[in-house]
Amino acid sequence: MSADHAGPSQGPAARLRRLEGLLEQRGLIDAGQLDRALGAFLARASPANGARLVARAWLDDGFRQRLLADANAALPELGLSMGGGLQEQQLRVVQNTADSHNVIVCTLCSCYPLALLGPSPTWYKSEAYRSRVVRDPRSVLREFGFELDPRVAISVWDASAEARYMVLPRRPAGTDGLGEPELAALVTRNGLIGVAPV
């Protein structure tokens, strides 16, 4: 598996550089165009987007229900979308409750809702996380310092196809008086993946 994704001098990275070079050489794109497109996408891609969605969902029950039912339709309410790449990707938001907890992984590679969470952390792409979290999520969460109540059921979501997943964490206790920006500031990237509580 990992042999295909090895070093920058071989495999997909080298192939990509060669393709980019050919596209420029044939005048189909100009030099730096890909970098600018990627830069523009990444400038908007941040876990702050996911955090805003969560804060709104905590405050507005109607929005929470729309987000859970059809996330792509709800995103524009906050000026967000799953577009920006080659095609609009389907987003599924999965909700943590008092008795159920969700964790996201892509066991086959590293599928991840980039537009809402920014570039994924290195550990998310590691073989250790990808192979172990589907098999023994409780132990993996413990290694993140997250001791989940043994009575809470765990659902692991393997984003192995076209959909992308994001966790809607539980709203922390003692936050009743907080507004949307203050609540959003509490939401962490790991909370949106499901390897930490918020």
């Binding site: 023994d136 059921a153 765990i154 659902s155 984003a159 192995s160 076209e162 959909a163």
Partner: protein, 101 residues
């Protein structure tokens, strides 16, 4: 072409170990799970990744009990799977029942 499966159907992932790209994770092969979601239609990557014509086909969210995947564990794992990776588990067990009679 209509979807072969509906939410609630029991399905078995195929055991095929193809000599090319696939998006059926090895740990799910041969396991029985339940369809819990319909995720639209997309070209089968086993074909599209090889540059072959691939008509969009249904993709399903299929939930498996950890015990059925790994022989242990009390969690569930939901995997998004193309229709070509799935067989009806009920029909399969009926067929088995007949053949053992």
């Amino acid at each position: 072409m209509a979807e072969l499966f509906r939410v609630g159907d029991r399905v078995r992932a195929t055991r095929v170990d193809p000599p090319h790209h696939t998006r059926l994770p090895r740990y799910a092969r041969g396991a029985v799970g339940t369809v819990t979601g319909l995720l639209g239609r997309h070209p089968l990557p086993d074909r599209s990744a090889r540059g072959l014509a691939a008509e969009p086909e249904p993709v399903y969210a299929v939930s498996f009990a950890a015990g059925d995947l790994f022989g242990e564990g009390d969690h569930t794992v939901t995997i998004d799977l193309w229709e070509s990776y799935l067989r009806p588990a009920a029909a399969e067990s009926r067929a088995k029942g007949r053949s053992s009679e």
